[in-house]
Symmetry: none
Subunit: 419 residues, 2 copies
Amino acid sequence: MAAEIICVGTEILLGDIVNSNSQYLAQEFAKLGISHYFQSVVGDNIARIHSLLEIAVQRGTEIIVFTGGLGPTPDDLTTEAIAAYFQTPLVERPEIVADITTKFAQRGRIMTPNNRKQALLPEGAEILPNPTGTAPGLIWQPIEGLTIFTFPGVPGEMKRMWQETAVPYLKAQGYGQIVIHSEMMRFRGIGESSLAAKVNHLFALTNPTVAPYASKGEVKLRVAARAESVAAAKKLMDPVVAEIKAIAGLDYFGSDGASLPLVIGDLLRTRQETLAVAESCTGGGLGALITSVSGSSDYFLGGIAAYANAVKINLLGVNSADLQNQGAVSETVAQQMALGAKQALGSDWGIGITGIAGPKSDDSAKPIGLVCIAWADPQNHVFSHTYRYGTDRDRELIRYLSACDALDGLRRYLKNDKS
Amino acid sequence: MAAEIICVGTEILLGDIVNSNSQYLAQEFAKLGISHYFQSVVGDNIARIHSLLEIAVQRGTEIIVFTGGLGPTPDDLTTEAIAAYFQTPLVERPEIVADITTKFAQRGRIMTPNNRKQALLPEGAEILPNPTGTAPGLIWQPIEGLTIFTFPGVPGEMKRMWQETAVPYLKAQGYGQIVIHSEMMRFRGIGESSLAAKVNHLFALTNPTVAPYASKGEVKLRVAARAESVAAAKKLMDPVVAEIKAIAGLDYFGSDGASLPLVIGDLLRTRQETLAVAESCTGGGLGALITSVSGSSDYFLGGIAAYANAVKINLLGVNSADLQNQGAVSETVAQQMALGAKQALGSDWGIGITGIAGPKSDDSAKPIGLVCIAWADPQNHVFSHTYRYGTDRDRELIRYLSACDALDGLRRYLKNDKS
């Protein structure tokens, strides 16, 4: 039952990209209970790909997952190398040619001859469809006891193909009968170590297990159980999940696919209220985060990115004396921006963000990472807060955390609001 | 002169961490001109580590770099596995014991007995000092023509040890006299296969080499040369880079750290002109992309995210009859948005974006992935274009590509503009 991963791509050997595909596939093997002892990376070179196939066959590997090297250019050699190793001819598949032609047509482009190469698969191999890109993969049993999968190196394409075709295929082969079910619980407004200290007694559990993860803009706890069914796993997890929710209170905002923009969207939609934003340092990033959710037009009217002070004054009605005296990065200005967004766009709620994302400060003595955020409610009550993200974080992270906290503040306001 | 990397750690095989050490070391090999054909990952298991050593020795590898498995716990087995493979006894090094004892004392802690394990190295191996952590590595030539390095898995410790000891050691061995210099050329407005077809004759070159890469929102060609100095490598690359630029024309937008927001920023700054944007489907993402560049306040005044049609009418002056008749996603509306952004914010240039990012369409019969973008110049000339990103791409990608093309269109306009 052992699987190995072979990533093909000279760009990985040159260090141009990090090999995130291996991490994803390793997690997926774990979920399906597939043993996994080796990962390799090799360049776009037929002889070296052959040498790794030979090693994998010699050590009795039952599943080889290849990523990369399926594209249209001459250095995309994975399919050719696999076919040649097993001395099997490549055959053009008309259904792949048709699929590629359609995709080019949809994008208003003509298929170039080199794309035809992507339609060649070894005789006897099944097509592993690629719904997003033009390079399909394959599923093939070239010899008894060995199944080969190939995927493009583009992570988004690989993941979708893995989920839509490879996982059902492997389950049909009997993998994944003992399931590992997990819930990723998400938190904002508490640090990883503080949360870990509060739930420390749960880390010793063995089934379910509780493990902390930190990621950009949130802290996560993964609660996971092994059982013969998802329902049985959930039953093991339920009391632990409930205990964590009780401990974390409002710092917990949702699980699994939940995100701050989804959560505030649901809250606003339920209340039938609308939102507008006024952004300075985030330059549109808060609006982009809110509208990352499909259907956000139900509650998001829009925003004003007021990067220049003149725009703050003219479109948002920020007081020029306050801008002068307190500086653009101040709670006073953030509050006027939140109210100005409401006023200009006619929304129920308004958010204003102004801050110093770095790497240079403005002309004031204020430190990089200082961000003021304000929220205005339907009755024009305004609440504001100053965040200090620290001088050691980079511009993009400070901007992203600002947008997250703008949504998190709104979430807390909406959750507490009994009106 | 071939090196390979073996990363030891069950946590990598479980997908708990991404293998960033391999990327770093791969880049370092390239800088030193060390050929690098294989990377492997293996768990904390002596027999499997032996099998990889055997494979590496068989294929004539001259440098093996191990990371991970040097810690004090029973599952840290790298040093033990290497010594056993070459049938060499482990010997406790008093200088390592002294160093670990000192480090524990500095942190106000007592060294635990399991830390003594880290002082064991194979007889004949040199110590590779770890200035930061307690686990040193080794440099060892167990057999003629093979040098082994070991490093801890913690990236910060590994990198410092690499720079402070391994790099000088390798240079003393004569590595780094041949350098690999590369330039990553970046393109927008042409697909990977079309670009590849145009420069196909260059893929056969051996020094410099030319290789294509696709990534989100751009296509890249990496031109790389081996020579005895960076200057000599550049001399080899210059005619090829010039030829590619001539072939690609305006589709080439810059090299290495260049990005569309940086390029348009430089163009606008030089002309002392300003920009404002009006966004519908991107919801602020175009403004966020523009302001990802530090110093963008020199030319970016701000924007209006007009998600609701009422905002398009009230703040941008979009004609409500046109909205009704042609739909929000139309070049007419995009043009009015571009002009409206200029007008409302008082900028020299304006961009308008309106489209259907999916996964659901609007009420019209227009397909997902249809995006109209318009550019208004300082004389209020307006140019617009309709993009079809295809129905198979996801919301975030369609939004990101829209923002890229909005900047790319402006770049072409500015580049062509002789006024």
